[in-house]
């Protein structure tokens, strides 16, 4: 499946834009997604940490990704 991944903050700089699309196996989980992204965008690994959100909720590494999920890369937040 092909998923679209939103990027914010420094992730937008790393991806060179507000979103990237990625081909994933149909049973891929967050961990697989992170691995593929880090292969394509090694600067991601230099972040202090980052999270992935699925449908506006923080996701865990083992969570499975479904087609049409809204996926977003959440670098360390700094609001307030």
């Amino acid at each position: 499946m092909n998923v679209n991944i939103l990027a914010f903050g420094i992730a937008k700089d790393i991806f060179g834009g507000p979103s990237v699309s990625l081909d994933l196996a149909n049973d891929a989980n967050i961990s697989n997604l992170k691995y593929l992204l880090e292969q394509q965008y090694p600067r991601l690994k230099k972040l202090a940490t980052y999270m992935v959100a699925v449908n506006n909720e923080y996701a865990l590494d083992g969570d499975t990704i479904h087609e049409r999920d809204e996926i977003a890369i959440i670098p360390p937040v700094s609001g307030g």
């Binding site: 939103l6 914010f8 903050g9 420094i10 937008k12 700089d13 230099k46 972040l47 202090a48 959100a53 506006n56 909720e57 923080y58 977003a72 959440i74 670098p75 360390p76 937040v77 700094s78 609001g79 307030g80």
Partner: protein, 146 residues
């Protein structure tokens, strides 16, 4: 873009427009409350001794509002508070401008203080909003690197 979540006792707003502290206080004040604690973030002119020219805030707005709602719900669960308001800016902010206002009204002041501090502390950890500091000679996304 401005998002307002409004119920009788909760107001959450993300806005590119200047925040108005008086409006925030006017909204939380009520005849049943005895104490209001308000936290106001302001843009400092320097960070680690380096002059800041301006800030830019970016939000993942739908998720930010959801996380802010969770935090306000936690505040109501943890403390006997009556009204909670969170206003957060997005976009470009100059020195001295206000990125965030949190106002909490309660019958007794301890609950208002505790809840207000909890909200700002938690907001800074979980809400998907990012701050970029613009210096004379460059810019940096805050907290991105160890």
């Amino acid at each position: 873009m401005t998002i307002i979540i409004l119920s009788l006792n909760t107001q959450i707003k993300l806005s590119v427009s200047t925040l108005n502290v008086q409006e925030c206080v006017d909204w939380v004040i009520s005849p049943e409350c005895g104490g209001i604690d308000v936290f106001i973030g302001t843009v400092r002119n320097a960070t680690k001794g380096k002059a800041v020219v301006r800030l830019e805030f970016e939000a993942y707005e739908k998720m930010a509002v959801k996380e802010l709602e969770k935090i306000t719900q936690q505040a109501f669960d943890k403390w006997p508070v009556q009204k909670v308001l969170i206003h957060h800016r997005t976009g470009v902010l100059q020195i001295g401008e206000i990125p965030v206002v949190i106002a909490v009204a309660a019958a007794h002041r301890d609950a208002a203080f505790d809840a207000c501090r909890y909200i700002i502390d938690t907001l800074k950890q979980t809400v998907p909003i990012w701050k970029k500091e613009i210096f004379e000679d460059g810019e940096v996304w805050v907290a991105a690197h160890p």
